[in-house]
């Protein structure tokens, strides 16, 4: 009898294993290639429609190969293609998985986690001052990492990785800049620290300068939106931000077009003598420090204005 029960259990388990279906959700336009290589023939061009209904791709095999997943082409159960990891998200049958930013407990970030993939050799840059590590990703798809300075109240640095797949997507299907304001980062909420807001820069004569630029995140709608995080900006002189810096960011994307993987770290450096912004700081707001090089640099630790700050 015991043998029979064990046999039945074994049969049931095997039926479940065979019948379990796994899906990915398409989140960008993507080519499905014949092989797990962007130089192979295109089996199908998958168009991202947006909207609330998820566009599902059935996984043929669970494991990825060279960063590509093997999926069934929608509308054709016999046609198979390989889709790059950055353009899809995991999907379970219970519904869409929540964004990791929603899952992460506030103030709990202590390491870069999956964001290590944006660093050369998996090693995060070391900044001259203390930073709070932030990983901006969704369901394992990494957008960028940041080191945020609570002393200076802005992103100290951000790092991102471009690859040929992302560049191809941005070139073939250019996305507009989202019409949105910069948002506070929920991962910095620890009950004490008060983040700057979009309006903290208003009337300061300083731009809200992206560290990881919107233009380098335009391979994914969510990545673009996440780049509009208050932790990913630092004050920049408009004449610098909109000219030499804009042009330099464009050059980086051009370099990345045929460079395999391109790793970028954009940081701020303010030396010993740095100014603080003059702005209409509200209650519990601290002024943002301005750096002299790279990108500008400001900070709050306890919601009170720091000594010596200009207002």
């Amino acid at each position: 009898m015991k043998k029979l029960v064990a046999l039945l259990l074994g049969v049931l388990l095997s039926i479940q294993a065979v019948s379990a279906e796994h899906y990915l959700e398409l989140r960008s336009n993507a080519n499905a290639y014949v092989d797990s290589d962007r130089n192979s023939d295109v089996a199908a061009r998958l168009k991202y429609k947006g909207g609330s209904e998820p566009q599902l791709l059935k996984l043929v095999t669970l494991a990825s190969e060279n960063g590509y997943y093997r999926v069934e082409i929608p509308g054709s159960s016999s046609k198979i293609g390989w889709v790059y990891k950055s353009f899809v998200r995991g999907y379970d049958n219970a519904g869409r998985q929540p964004a990791s930013s929603a899952r992460a407990p506030a103030g709990s970030v202590t390491s870069y986690g999956t964001c290590k993939e944006v660093f050369v050799g998996g090693k995060a840059p070391v900044a001259p001052d203390e930073v709070t590590p932030l990983c901006e990703e969704e369901d394992g798809v990494v957008f960028f990492a940041s080191g945020y300075s609570k002393r200076d109240n802005h992103g100290y640095w951000s790092a991102y990785r471009l690859d040929e797949e992302k560049i191809a997507e941005m070139t073939e299907n250019p996305r507009d800049r989202p019409k949105m304001q910069f948002r506070q980062n929920p991962k910095l909420n620890d009950g004490q620290y008060v983040q700057p807001r979009h309006v903290s820069y208003t009337g300061t004569d300083w731009d809200r300068g992206h560290l990881a630029p919107n233009g380098a995140m335009a391979w994914d709608e969510d990545a673009q939106k996440r780049s509009f995080s208050i932790s990913n900006i630092a004050p920049q002189k408009p004449g610098m931000n909109r000219n030499i810096w804009r042009c330099f960011e464009q050059s980086i994307r051009e370099w990345a077009a045929d460079s395999g993987n391109t790793y970028v770290v954009v940081g701020t450096s303010h030396g010993d003598n740095f100014q603080r912004t003059r702005s209409q700081w509200g209650e519990n707001q601290c002024p943002i420090a301005l750096s002299r090089h790279g990108l500008p640099h400001e900070a709050c630790t306890d919601g009170n204005r720091r000594d010596g700050a200009q207002h």
């Binding site: 001259p128 002189k237 408009p238 610098m240 000219n243 030499i244 460079s259 391109t262 790793y263």
Partner: protein, 84 residues
Amino acid sequence: MVYRTKPAPMAIGVMVPNTEGNLDIRKYMMTVAELEKKSGYQFRLPESVAEQKPDLNKWPYRIVKKELLGKLPSIDVQCPRVVH
């Protein structure tokens, strides 16, 4: 700091003053080792790459023709590529 894996690992450091009136990016390009010294950052690259002097032929760049604000023209108008 920008690091590229192809055609061979190479990296460049760039440090631009946060001031207006800077048009020529070449003035601010350097080795990553130099950037680390100037900025206090450590990028933790292999030494051979960090100390590699950037060959500008491999890092084609754009120079700003004239500093502009307001509605910006296309990149190619504002800062055309410099061809060696």
